[in-house]
């Protein structure tokens, strides 16, 4: 729901890094727990990047699955297990991945 604001941040960061060079690609990392909707980012980007050096840039998204580390056997498992370790059956754990939401890199024209 707040992807409009997030997309503005993405564009702001990318334009600052590009130093007025044309941006051809923006690489994002989005974790499964970050509740960011990739499709709305793409939609907002198309509208908001118009008439900026980021217009037409390709948005590439690397998705990171949530990982929960079992406190018993230290194996990590995903959200689909509903908190039950598939190896030892212990419940719950520490979230070790899945909250990511950052701009990893951009491609600019030389």
């Amino acid at each position: 729901m707040h992807e409009l604001a997030l997309t503005q941040n993405i564009i702001d960061i990318a334009l600052r890094e590009a130093e007025s060079r044309r941006i051809t690609e923006i690489n994002l990392v989005i974790g499964e727990l970050s509740s960011v909707v990739e499709e709305s980012i793409r939609f907002c980007f198309e509208v908001m990047s118009k008439d900026t050096p980021a217009e037409g840039a390709r948005i590439c998204v690397k998705k990171v699955a949530a990982a929960i580390r079992c406190p018993g056997c230290f194996r990590t498992y995903g959200l689909e297990m509903e908190g039950l370790c598939p190896a030892c059956g212990k419940r719950g754990g520490e979230v070790t991945a899945g909250r990511e939401f950052y701009l990893e890199s951009i491609e600019v024209e030389d």
Binding site: L28, E82, R99
Partner: protein, 212 residues
């Protein structure tokens, strides 16, 4: 040419949140971000807390529109400021920063920030708070921790409200507790009813145990 950036997209918000955090720390104020879906009982929990905490408080009310919640808090003689987000689905750090200018905090030991009713977006936006609390209510269903793991994984405590209606609905308490534990091992779950007052003692004790 590739430029490595590795920059948190929420950085702008997090910088202002860090300023708010410093503001609270300097004044020994414990800020609590209260999040929930609409109707779970955020305002009721704040009102019951005002009655029982016995410490000076202030409140920031976040809503898309209206001042109903702020009026209820003001009736308790507690300093309150209402933020109307005008459609935005969450509070952000800069809204809090601006609202602090309009709030009398000279005596406050606790600041309760009632976020916009929503189990998705508020999880992403830190405000500078010391503690993040999620209010869930039994009628919403025992599957909510499984459906909103992002939100449930970021809080320090969960308050499960409306436990007085349990005899009339199908709500499996242990399934709910399992769902919370699946993504958050540390957060205590307080089973309460704002209507009857049941369970509020443990919640108040927990609030008092937070160090500023």
């Amino acid at each position: 040419m590739k430029i490595n950036v590795v920059k948190n997209i929420l950085d702008a918000n997090e910088q202002i949140a860090a300023e708010n955090k410093l503001f609270f720390e300097k004044r020994d104020i414990i800020a609590v971000n209260v999040m929930a879906s609409p109707g779970a009982g955020k305002t009721s929990l704040i009102l019951r807390t005002i009655e029982r905490l016995g410490e000076p408080m202030a409140v920031v009310e976040g809503d898309i529109a209206s001042t109903f919640d702020a009026e209820k808090v003001a009736e308790k003689q507690v300093p309150v400021v209402q933020i109307n987000t005008g459609g935005a689905c969450h509070l952000d750090a800069s809204m809090i920063k601006t609202s602090l200018e309009r709030l009398s905090l000279s005596k406050a030991k606790y600041l309760f920030i009632e976020n916009v009713g929503n189990l998705v977006c508020p999880a992403e936006f830190v405000l500078g708070e010391k503690a993040r609390v999620l209010v869930a209510s039994a009628p919403e269903g025992d599957d909510k921790p499984f459906k909103y793991p992002g939100m449930f994984s970021t809080v320090q405590a969960v308050v499960l409200n409306k436990m007085d209606v349990l005899p009339y609905i199908d709500f499996n308490v242990s399934r709910f507790l399992e769902g919370v534990a699946a993504v958050n091992r540390e957060a205590p779950v307080f089973q309460i009813s704002c209507r009857t007052g049941e369970g509020l003692g443990d919640w108040i004790d927990w609030l008092k145990s937070i160090k500023s």
